[in-house]
Symmetry: D2
Subunit: 279 residues, 4 copies
């Protein structure tokens, strides 16, 4: 899709949210243009723009990426907004529950997302699913509570309670909206963290929607970001020693991880990386 | 109170919140020390430390204030945390509802704070109170809903729903906690905005608690902050022209505000400032 | 001038510098658009866009101003770049003396700018001028040294000394270039400080050139910025008490400044403000 | 060395510079303390502090590292100050050449650092040395010019030229001083970049001096930083495919790099990593 077609188009996320590209400053060429200011005549040998962009991403020369700016209009549940806002290098204008009435949009998870606590990962949900009936019961309960809470909110407003107080019992599943503006470097940092499998599913969906937009605006930088960031794999100092043994022909079963300072948890993490690479 | 007595002490805020000074780097002397690096031998004429600090605050030479750092532990309702976090120049570690169970602490306003929507100020509550009985009814309703929502939360956890999902119907009145670290310059900026009468009452109470701590750590800088920031009054270009007429002996009733470009709203704002000064 | 005419146009600053608007995201409408997200239906009473923008500037609701972004290409002497870079909320790509050869452009002040140290202001130059001949001698000396230093630089490069070392004796008057990207709120903050009479003349000239561009892109916001920021005047708590006496009809000669806590320096500062208002 | 012994001690860097730890807030325990706020009861399974800190560093959960703050007093050449200041997440008070006279300290490289331009690396100096005599000639020339420029500076001051102008022909080798305050997370980011072999030698020396201090204040976090950041090695998506072939037993000579999208430069970069690991 062309920039002109992307601008203003609402991309649905979750049940009632969206991501909409409001404005954008720059593209792949702007990155090259800014880099050439830094390197002056010095860049003649890296004569190709694609090569230059990939070089910048590979070597984390990220300031030219800051010269591209994105502005999104986003509708998202408050509990996601609370994770999102921790990224401090963006500009934000959020809908205000002090000035205006909150809407009756609430996030209700799809049944297949209503999952048990993960046993492996203290912060996440399991890959397993709850029994269908339990999931449906939970979903109905969540919905009923949301309806009830909005009724109470309206009732409090009708009693003329100040908006800034009437809202305090609205739940974190209530949707809010904001304009969010950020440069490409910081957006990539956001996406690297929020597209990660450890990020909460709901924010990953927003990350994915933005990624789909961004890759159409800066296709070359995006490809480099995938190659050098998203799909890159880092090995710690101790892990490098394990890698050395493996490269010398040893089998992974023969490795004495503890001798390299890798305890149970790190051994498990290494083996996951190994599996990813060799599969 | 001495720094040693302040450290670690819990100052209650609202019904269940608190502010606790965890650590502090520097004091009034650190401001002087940093300023003298900038001005080198040049400061000999401003030989007195108090004079130097006041000069810095008066002329908004704020970088030496950044050399003092405060770290607080704060327990606050989520709807206040959402306003607070908009100040981006701080470091934050917040309690995580993904890792851990939320507590059953909820903010329940005192009856006298249960007020109607302001008619003058779209974002705030009125100076008036609601009828006693209405206020009490609202309070009971808020409380009952909070109890019910926490029961539901516990029930969802018992059904083994992942914590990151079980919490989505918890209300904005639920308390959270964080460590919050910020330098004195940015803290003063925060306090100027959040001690203002337009800030929501609940965040003002936290601002006040922090102000009471800060003024004991940097008494000279705090006094200057009050004189030159908190209690200062700014007149716009157009307002300065009104001021000129008043200083030339005119009575405020004789002023033609529109001729100076001040429409109804700005005329009212000017008159409030005038009243504050002359009363 | 229209945005299209402004884009890319080089505006000369000082003897060899320039300011060039490379790109811009947004205009006055973008400010309104972002503000209306925050205030939702709440803004119906401030129905006029101009009124809304002026309201935002007057009450320092600055986040909607962050939704407009400017990108400049600037050529400036290094000693000015060192002051400029202290504003941390911008994105920068600077010409690199490690990658590329520095050019032989040096800042040589106009004779009328070659002034003595100010006696009133420790950080600035006097309003007085040096004798013509002294000024011309100084200018010639500066020029000759610049030529000599560049010759030495070229000579070191010819001896194959690494660029990153050959440059270390180049003077602060040498010109550098950068791309500089910043949002409108932070740009206004920069301009408020750098258009001030206490800022060094040379950076003021760059500030003025950018101001001339910005006011054509966001005319309504700029007018509000002039009224409420550039031309505003703040009175401290103690000064407000003096103002009260003056407004009650006292003559400035009758004021006992010390009784209000204003020492000699602050008395002088107050009198300057008074003069500005009443003249 | 204990914190008490480190505080205030001047560590020499280069010929006339230094690094001095002025103040510090927190230590390894502060990181754990802040992390436990986030994870609440959730951290019971990572019961060991060292394990927790290493977990945080390994998984880039960096906000608890922001809870430790360092304040340094640094004396450094201006051309290094210009690279340094690009790190925007710090607080700075620099000596001002407008307020005060610059000192006559200039950086004069040791003869063995007076090296030719690198042929491999456009931004750096070679591993080779210049002929001894050439190096000594260059050094003498640099020194003489520095002496001459300072004489001219003093002469201009004697003619009463304003300090802010008299300094414009002082060279980038002139020393300046500043107070620099930064949190541990951002300091580690600074050090990762500035300890790298691509950073200019002179700033690396300052990085090394700070590293030597920091590792004594937060030994556990520093060890984790070395293991997971400084000594870690990242492989891009395409490189991972090469790694897969190598792990399956292929010899590096048999690899067809182009088939994995690695052109000449990236092939060379991969081989360097391979050499580092396997040596």
């Amino acid at each position: 899709m062309k920039k002109e077609e992307l601008l203003g188009k609402e991309f649905k996320v979750l049940d009632k949210g969206f991501v909409r590209l409001v404005d954008v400053m720059g593209d792949d060429d702007s990155i090259v243009q800014a880099a050439r200011v830094s390197y002056g005549q010095g860049t003649k040998t890296v004569h190709e723009d694609r090569g230059l962009i990939r070089y910048l991403l590979r070597h984390k020369h990220t300031t030219p990426l800051e010269m591209v700016e994105f502005k999104f209009h986003i509708k998202l549940p408050i509990f996601i907004a609370r994770q999102w806002i921790r990224h401090r290098t963006a500009n934000v204008n959020e809908y205000s529950g002090r000035y205006s009435e909150m809407t009756d949009d609430f996030y209700l998870p799809d049944p297949e997302q209503i999952r048990p606590q993960s046993t492996m990962n203290r912060q996440g949900r399991s890959e397993e699913e709850l029994p269908d009936q339990t999931a449906m019961e939970i979903r109905t309960k969540l919905l009923n509570t949301q309806i009830k809470l909005y009724d109470e909110y309206k009732d409090l407003l009708n009693k003329d309670l100040a908006r800034e107080l009437a809202r305090i019992n609205l739940p974190l599943s209530n949707y809010t909206e904001w304009y969010w503006k950020i440069d490409l470097h910081n957006l990539m940092h956001f996406l690297k963290l929020r597209l990660d499998s450890h990020a909460q599913y709901e924010i990953r969906m927003f990350g994915q929607a933005m990624a789909d937009i961004v890759k159409q605006i800066v296709p070359v930088a995006w490809e480099a970001f995938e190659d050098y960031q998203l799909n890159s794999m880092a090995f710690s100092g101790p892990e490098s020693k394990v890698l050395k043994e493996l490269l010398s022909g040893k089998n992974i079963e023969e490795i004495n991880f503890e001798s390299h300072g890798l305890k149970a948890r790190e051994e498990r993490e290494f083996k996951e990386k190994y599996k990813t690479i060799t599969s």
